[in-house]
């Protein structure tokens, strides 16, 4: 027997098909198709967790996605463990392990329950007041304690072994929700010829028909009609039916996120299947058929395990065949809960009483209750619920006072009416309007191309829902361009029309400030907390929400928002619309990180860019560093060398012999056209029309605000052709910056820009022997100083392949940069290496490149500048043309603050102790003993050990730096203060003779 509370003949599950699972170590039997909740209830278990703040015993409140209480830790194996799973949504599979959360040492005896006794100290907003003093105690004591005591599940520690899929889909009509409304609308749209996607969060379609009885559509039982309709739809070529699929987010321009749970219900994992599939749907029209959510009643101790929504009680009985108790009371303000009593009574379960706080319930349900012999107490309220780990009794009193009568129950079904699910409508940024007559928010003004139908639109009557849905399906299909097809008509009947509903606190919540009448179960917010918030001066619902945390748990107030709002409105003496409704945000229900991250993990998290020489570098044992997406050779350690030794050797070797450096990542832009020089005149501070073909120039690029944006060497190949280089990291934005000005400010110029970064491999050969190394390999270019001096460029051949050869240097040595088509990169590199290695040259990486350029005071834009430095600040004013009448930044750099005295300027720093290497980013002060906070003059931007100088060197920005040459400044560190002397920026070969070697 799959549980003692299973009623023979009730429900839609197959009794023979069982599944075994454990709950807190106890093995239980379920039926296939059970949720964890229905399986626990079948086994007589109501107590499933402890509450967030007070650690109160909690049970299962609902049978759906709105569940605030029954959050459990569910695992398949050690790595597949998920906390905070809603028991009402998770289907049971054979072998599943389920653990309760937030309790110690056990669920039935929880030490944290002590909090409940201390609750007078834990009123709403107590965090803001209680833990104010002493200040230091917050980090040391209060926060760690609160974090340990509060919270629900524990995050898994192992990496997620599952994979997730992602799919884009386009359709004419997306229907979210497959109850009567959604199915009817999808059918009408599909028959009209539209491409339709229909999704529902449940394993089966049917929506409210899951708990309903006595509903017929076109003469069929409602549930059977729903399943048959889904089969009809699924068989159509133009329809996709997705179950276990939640429409969780409605974004701009009818872009809707769906998440499909593919394997979480399967006993055996199929490795080929993704755990979940994220659907990103762009729909021409969206139909929202999200239904409505039943609200609980707000009264004293309404959180006792065994107290649940009436519709949940019906679901467990009519769908899962489970009676939620043997003596089930009903407390309601709405006719719908009567049907729960009828169903239970007919199934043989005792129903001691229906307590209705209204004086005049619907006549039909009242008559039926009498016919079934159920006592109905109209004009009464439940003023308290007894029992600790499970409800044992209710105290019922006539409204307005009087003595209470105690009724023994072991479960209580409650309903205060239904809240239309306007979540997705609100996410679409439509505006809701309050319907005063039915006391509910309904879709008002639409902003996107969608339609709400059925219960989420406030349509209560079955036939009205069907008619509305069919009309919406056909209308949206036609509007999306569907032609032809057939029209659908359906006829629906149900047992009772429903009336009633209330929001806010019932009489049983009392005016008292000590009564715990919960409105938000997951965050332990009571009616009194809302009143307290109002007394403390909160006026707006947004403030009340944040003060009390009402509706801020992972269920996002699906049950509590309306109650909280009504209580606040009453306390404020305002109408509900004046108090306002908080905004619904995506996602509707929690979505796993796995579904969102999807394939973008591990190697696929971010693309890796590799240069044409990468394989060679790897084979040489290079260490790599990430520069943007690039993998760059950092240094080439020999056996026994650490980074420091390797870099010191490489630095020495380059200056004594030569070195090869892979500069392929440099950004490269081909600028071509009759107006190319004029365009570059505008983009860079330098003058380009005076540059002769065959020559190069170092250029500075500013933004229009006058700050340095990028730099690089530009070679002129012909009158109308330039080879522009940018920083490695700046390549894409420089290209965008150039395109922007070319397309929108200077469109009259005849210039074309092409990114060639990945088309050229760049091999820098630097050092005294650079010429000797490459000379025998080069054809058609005279490499002598006279014919090819520093800052020259020529086209020719190297190793028989075309090259653009630059004579330039980022090391201060005689140097060449060999550009060859990327496909030849490694072959040419190897040919050069074959000559270089026997001469004693080395390959060097980015770290050595950094040190060598710092020895020469060459800046790196983005390291030595940070977007707030002008060309003059960076000691580059020589590169700014005084003659030009326009270039980008010409006006910005004249702004008063940019020409002010005392700006931070780039200078060199030499530590008094030459062996001390400063930390990059360290702050610089004039007086080390001044009181804190000290006046900071600037910071270290680059700092290295220089083997060539035999000491440490550094670059720094310092206020008024160039006027401080020779001054002693200080760098205060945590453990000591380092004295430094301000110097110029060139540390090696100050005359620069080596460039021309």
């Amino acid at each position: 027997m799959s549980g003692t509370n299973r009623i023979a003949g009730a429900g839609r599950l197959t009794p023979a098909r069982t599944a075994r699972f454990t709950f807190d170590g106890r093995t239980l039997t379920a039926l296939e198709g059970d949720t964890v909740a229905s399986a626990l209830l079948a086994n007589g278990i109501h107590l499933v967790g402890r509450s967030f703040k007070y650690h109160r015993p909690r049970g299962i409140l609902s049978a759906g996605a709105e569940e605030p209480n029954a959050l459990l830790d569910v695992s398949r194996d050690a790595a597949r463990r998920q906390p905070n799973v809603r028991a009402t949504v998770q289907e049971v599979f054979d072998g599943m392990k389920v653990e309760s959360q937030n309790r110690w040492p056990s669920l039935a005896f929880d030490v944290g329950g002590f909090n409940d006794l201390l609750s007078p100290f834990f009123a709403a907003g107590f965090y803001y007041k209680t833990f104010m003093w002493p200040k230091a105690a917050w980090h040391a004591i209060y926060e760690p304690f609160i974090r340990r005591a509060a919270g629900l599940g524990v995050a898994p520690t192992e990496a997620d072994p599952d994979h997730y899929a992602s799919r884009y889909a386009h359709c004419d009509v997306l229907v979210i929700g497959a109850g009567v409304a959604g199915l009817s609308a999808a059918l009408a749209a599909a028959k009209a010829g539209a491409k339709v996607i229909l999704c529902d969060e449940q394993p089966d379609v049917g929506g409210a028909l899951r708990y309903e009885r006595g509903t017929t559509i076109d003469g069929k039982d409602g549930w059977d009609w729903a399943q048959a309709t889904a089969r009809t739809l699924a068989a159509m070529d133009n329809v996709t039916v997705l179950t276990r699929t939640t429409g969780f987010g409605y974004y701009n321009h009818n872009f809707v996120g769906l998440v499909e749970r593919v394997t979480d219900h399967l006993p055996a994992l199929d490795k080929a299947l993704p755990r979940e599939r994220l659907w990103q749907v762009r729909a021409k029209k969206v139909i929202l058929a999200n239904g409505s959510i039943e609200r609980h009643m707000v009264f004293a101790n309404n959180d006792r395990p065994g107290i649940m929504l009436a519709s949940a009680g019906r679901t467990y009985l009519n769908h899962y065949g489970v009676a939620v108790g043997s003596k089930v009371g009903v407390y309601t303000a709405h006719d719908s809960a009567y049907e729960a009593a009828f169903d239970l009574k007919r199934a043989g379960v005792a129903v001691p009483a229906i307590v209705d706080c209204r004086d005049n319930p619907g006549e039909a349900v009242l008559a039926e209750a009498r016919r079934l012999g159920i006592e109905v107490l109209t004009g009464h309220s439940v003023v308290n619920a007894g029992g600790k780990l499970r409800v044992s009794s209710i105290s019922v009193a006539r409204n307005g006072g009087g003595s209470a009568r105690k009724i023994a129950v072991d479960a209580l079904l409650v309903s205060s009416g239904w809240t239309p699910s306007v979540h997705l409508f609100s996410q679409s940024r439509g505006k809701v309007k309050f319907d005063a007559q039915t006391q509910r928010f309904l879709p008002g003004t639409y902003l996107q191309d969608c339609l709400s139908i059925g219960a989420c639109n406030g349509t209560d009557d079955l036939q009205a829902t069907i008619d509305e849905a069919l009309a919406a399906g056909e209308l949206t299909a036609r509007a999306a361009g569907a032609e032809g097809g057939t029209q659908v008509t359906l006829h629906g009947d149900n047992a009772y029309g429903w009336t009633g509903g209330m929001i806010g606190a019932a009489e049983g919540a009392g005016p008292d400030t000590s009564v715990k009448a919960f409105i938000d179960f997951q965050h332990d917010v009571c009616a009194k907390d809302i009143r307290l918030a109002v007394r403390e001066g909160m006026q707006s619902i947004e403030h009340i929400k944040r003060f009390t945390t009402n509706g801020m748990a992972s269920d996002q107030g699906k049950l509590s928002n309306m109650h909280g709002l009504a209580i606040a409105a009453e306390a404020l003496g305002k109408d509900i619309p004046q108090v306002g409704l908080t905004t619904f945000r995506q996602p509707y229900t929690p979505v796993t990180f796995g579904a969102i991250v999807n394939h973008s993990r591990g190697n696929l998290f971010d693309p890796a860019r590799k240069t044409p020489v990468h394989a060679w570098e790897e084979a040489q044992g290079a260490a790599f560093e990430d520069v943007g997406n690039w993998k760059r050779a950092w240094f080439y350690p020999k056996a026994g060398e650490g980074m420091h030794e390797a870099v010191a050797r490489e630095c020495k070797t380059v200056r004594e012999v030569a070195g090869l450096f892979d500069a392929s990542t440099l950004g490269k832009i081909e600028v071509v056209g009759p107006d190319a020089a004029q365009f570059l005149n505008l983009m860079y501070t330098n003058a380009w029309d005076t540059l002769k073909p065959g020559r190069c120039r170092y250029g500075i690029m500013l933004r229009d605000d006058g700050f340095v944006y990028d730099d690089g060497v530009v070679g002129r190949l012909a009158e109308d052709r330039f080879h522009v280089t940018t920083t490695t990291g700046g390549a894409p934005r420089v290209m965008n910056h150039m395109e922007d000005y070319l397309q929108t400010e200077f469109p009259h110029l005849k210039v074309w820009l092409t990114s060639t970064t990945e088309q050229w491999a760049v091999i820098a050969v630097q050092g005294p022997k650079a010429r000797e190394i490459i000379a025998p390999l080069v054809e058609g270019i005279d490499l002598t100083n006279e014919a090819f001096p520093h800052m020259s460029v020529a086209e020719g051949k190297i190793c028989g392949v075309p090259t653009r050869l630059f004579r330039m240097s980022f090391t201060g040595e005689l140097g060449f940069e060999v550009n060859v088509p990327a496909d030849y990169g490694q072959a040419v590199w190897e040919a050069i290496w074959e000559r270089a290695e026997p001469m004693g040259a080395c390959a060097y990486g980015t770290e050595t490149m950094h040190v060598l350029r710092a020895e020469k005071g060459y800046i790196i834009v983005g390291q030595d500048t940070d977007g707030t430095l002008t060309a003059d600040d960076a000691a580059l004013s020589w590169a700014v043309s005084k003659k030009k009448t326009d270039f980008v930044g010409i006006r910005g750099l004249k702004r008063p603050d940019l020409v002010k005295e005392g700006r931070k300027q780039l200078v060199g720093l030499l530590t008094k102790d030459p062996t001390v290497v400063l930390e990059e980013g360290a702050q610089i002060v004039a007086h080390p003993n001044q009181p804190k906070p000290m006046t900071m003059l600037g910071h270290v931007t680059s700092s290295y050990w220089s083997e060539n100088c035999g000491r440490s060197i550094a670059l720094a920005v310092v206020a008024g730096g160039r006027a401080r040459l020779g001054q002693t400044l200080y760098v205060p560190m945590a453990d000591r203060t380092i004295a430094v002397e301000v110097s110029d920026m060139v540390f090696f070969d100050k005359e620069g003779g080596r460039l021309h070697g």
């Binding site: 974004y251 701009n252 321009h253 009818n254 872009f255 990103q280 762009r282 940024r429 902003l447 229009d704 605000d705 965008n736 395109e739 922007d740 397309q743 929108t744 400010e745 469109p747 009448t885 326009d886 010409i890 006006r891 910005g892 702004r895 008063p896």
Partner: protein, 106 residues
């Protein structure tokens, strides 16, 4: 995610292919070197950030690469129109009236 009509490709494409580029119809002064500090402030720094209709620039960066202009409602994110760079600014009243007419027809 927005759906944006590229006036060069003449197609509606996903926002993923585009990059926003700030306010439209802010011309860089021809005599920029000679303008006053106040004029430069106006040109470079000050923006209206309107609630409602905005004219803004987009680049179809992962498509044709062209910059173009759009009239968008910052509240609803609805695009009233997109048009090529260099084309005149559409008439605001006409745009809003057109919307009203469409609204009435629905």
């Amino acid at each position: 995610m927005l759906l944006i009509y590229c006036p060069y490709c003449e197609e509606e494409r996903s926002e993923l292919e585009f990059r926003g580029a700030g306010d439209a119809h802010i011309a860089r002064p021809d005599n920029i070197a000679d303008i006053t500090d106040e004029e430069f402030e106006e040109y470079f720094f000050l923006r209206q950030n309107p609630k409602g209709l905005i004219f803004e620039r987009w680049r179809h960066i992962h498509g044709c690469g062209r910059f173009f202009n759009a009239a968008r409602d910052t509240v609803s994110d609805r695009f009233y129109t997109t048009y090529k760079a260099g084309e005149p600014k559409p008439d605001v009243a006409a745009i809003l009236n057109g919307e009203r007419d469409k609204g009435a027809a629905r």
